[in-house]
C-alpha cells in the first residue's frame, strides 16, 4: 500500500478531520490520474503528492492538467493551478476529451447528502425541487465525474442529516435508488468504491451495493457510527481500524493547511 503505514503512528494529538484527510490521501495511488474538487479532496490529493504518491496526476475542472500547486488552491480556478500545470485547456475540453473517454482513474467527490447506495445530492434538500427547504450549489462537474472516472471516492463528515437512507435528489449517481441502476445503465466507471468519513470507512457490499461499515477511525466505536447513519448500518465481518497519521503525514498536512485562508466548498 503506502510507505506511510510502515512508519510509527504519531504520539501527538490529531483531529478526526485530520484522520479523514490522511485516510483519503492514502486511498490515492502513485501515478494514477485524479479529478480533484476543492476542499477536503484537494487537501488530500495534495497531501498524497507530498507523501506516498509524488507522481499522482491532478486534474481540476477549470482545465488544469497535471498541476503541481505549491500551496493549497482556494478555488478550482486559483491562478496557482494554471501556473504549475503541464497544460491548461478550456472547460468543454476537460470534460469532453479528458474525462468522458475514461482517461481519469479516480474522481473525488463530497456532497450535502449521500445515501445507502452511494448516490450524492448537492442540489436541494426537501421533497420539492421547485420549493426546496435548502437550495444547495448544484451539480458542477460531479455528475460526469461520478459516471466516467474509473472509480469514485466520496469524502464526507458523518452525520444522520448527511447519511440518509434515500437522497432527496440524485445529483451524482452511485448505484441508483435500488442499488442496481448503475449496472442497468451501463455506466463506464465502477462508481463509488469507498466512502471516507471522520468516523471510518464504508464500502459497497459486493452483492447489494449497500454501503457497509468496513473500517473505524482510531478511538471510534461501531455504535457511534450507527448513531450517525440514517439507515440501519450493516457492519462487515472483518472490521479494520485505520492507522493513525504518522508524524510526517501530520506535519505535511498542517504545513499545507497553513498555506490557504480557508478551504470549504467546491
Amino acid at each position: 500500500m503506502t510507505g506511510e503505514l510502515s512508519e510509527t503512528p504519531t504520539t501527538s494529538e490529531f483531529t478526526s478531520d485530520e484522520m479523514m484527510t490522511v485516510a483519503a490521501s492514502r486511498s490515492l495511488h502513485d501515478e494514477s490520474v485524479c479529478f480533484v474538487g476543492i476542499g477536503l479532496p484537494s487537501t488530500a490529493a495534495n497531501l498524497a503528492r507530498r507523501t506516498h504518491a509524488p507522481e499522482l496526476v491532478l486534474i481540476y475542472e477549470s482545465g488544469t492538467l497535471g498541476t503541481k500547486p505549491q500551496r493549497l488552491p482556494l478555488s478550482i480556478g486559483d491562478g496557482v493551478l494554471a501556473e504549475t500545470a503541464d497544460s491548461v485547456v478550456g472547460v468543454p475540453e476537460i470534460f469532453n476529451y479528458w474525462l468522458q473517454p475514461g482517461r481519469v482513474d479516480v474522481g473525488f467527490l463530497g456532497g450535502a447528502q449521500v445515501d445507502r447506495y452511494g448516490n450524492i445530492n448537492t442540489t436541494v434538500i426537501g421533497d420539492e425541487y421547485e420549493d426546496p427547504k435548502v437550495r444547495l450549489p448544484g451539480a458542477g462537474g460531479a455528475p460526469e465525474i461520478a459516471t466516467s472516472c474509473g472509480e469514485v471516492l466520496i469524502v464526507m463528515r458523518h452525520s444522520p442529516r448527511a447519511f440518509v437512507p434515500d437522497v432527496d435528489f440524485i445529483t451524482s449517481v452511485g448505484y441508483g435508488r435500488d442499488g442496481a441502476a448503475r449496472a442497468r445503465l451501463g455506466l463506464p466507471g465502477r462508481g463509488p468504491v469507498k466512502v471516507i468519513t471522520d468516523l471510518g470507512v464504508l464500502r459497497p457490499d459486493e452483492g447489494t451495493n449497500e454501503l457497509t461499515l468496513t473500517g473505524l477511525a482510531p478511538g471510534v466505536e461501531v455504535e457511534q457510527v450507527r448513531a450517525a447513519t440514517g439507515w440501519p448500518l450493516r457492519v462487515a465481518e472483518e472490521l479494520g481500524v485505520q492507522h493513525p497519521p504518522t508524524d510526517r503525514e501530520l506535519r505535511i498536512l498542517r504545513e499545507l493547511k497553513a498555506t490557504v485562508g480557508n478551504g470549504e466548498s467546491s
Binding site: 501556473e83 478550456g90 467546491s266
Partner: protein, 273 residues
Amino acid sequence: MARILQLDTAVAELVNDGDTVALEGFTHLIPVAAGHEIIRAGRRDLTLCRMTPDVVYDQLIGAGCARKLVFSWGGNPGVGSLHRFRDAIQHSWPVPLEIEEHSHAGMANRYVAGASGLPFAVLRGYAGTDLPEHTDTISTVRCPFTGEELAAVAALNPDVGIVHAQRADRAGNVQFWGITGVQKETVLASVRSLVTVEEMVDELPEQPGAVVLPSWAVTAVAEVPGGAHPSYAQGYSERDNAYYQDWDAISRDRDRFREWLDSEIHEPERSAR
C-alpha cells in the same frame, strides 16, 4: 469589425431588458465591472446564463435584474453559499427567480453547440441523475451508428455574451490566456458580444498559445482595467480573496446588501467609466 466603446455605452447599446445574457469566466477573468454596469443601467427580466454564478450574479440577482438563471453550480467559491441567490429562489426576493439547471459538462456542451451552429450537443452525461426530470433542455438521442442512448442538450445562443480578457489591440483583436473556461465558446455562441479588457495596446505582443478572438468575431471591446475584480486576470492582478469572504456577511442581510448597492454601485462618482 469590433467597435471600441466605453463600458457604459457598450452595455446601454448591447443589453436590453428581457435579453438572455451570459457573463462567463471560470473563476479567472470574470467580467464583474460589466455586471455592475448592467445593474447601474437598471436592466430587468434578464435570463442570466453562467456555469458558475458566483458573487457578481448574486449581486445582479439581488438587484432584481434577473427573471431566470441558467447555471450548473451556484456558490461563493472557497467560501460557501450565495445568499441573494438563495433568497430569490426560496423567498422570491426581490423578485421570483426561475432556474434552469445543468451540470458543467452539459453547460459547456450547450455553448459548444451554440458556437458550432448546431441545434444540440451530445454527451455521455446525466444518466441516473434527477436533473433531466426538471430541465427541459436535457433530453436523450440515439446514436444512428451504434444505437447507444446518449444525453442531448439544447444549444445555448445568448443574445449577448460578455467576457473579460487580458488585452486587445485598437482594432479589437482579443488575446487571453490562463484558465479560459468557456469564454471563447460564449462569444462565438452569442448574437452580440462584449469583451472587456485589462489593457488596450497598439500592437499585441506575440504570446504563443494564447487564445485569440479576431476583431471580426466580436461586437464590441471596452477597456476596463481591473474589470475582473474581485476575480483575477493572470499577469495583471491577483484574486481578492478577502472580497469573496466579506461578501458572505454583506449578502446574508437584505439591508446590508441594499447599502452595498447604494454605496458601491449607484453612487454618482462611481458611474460611467
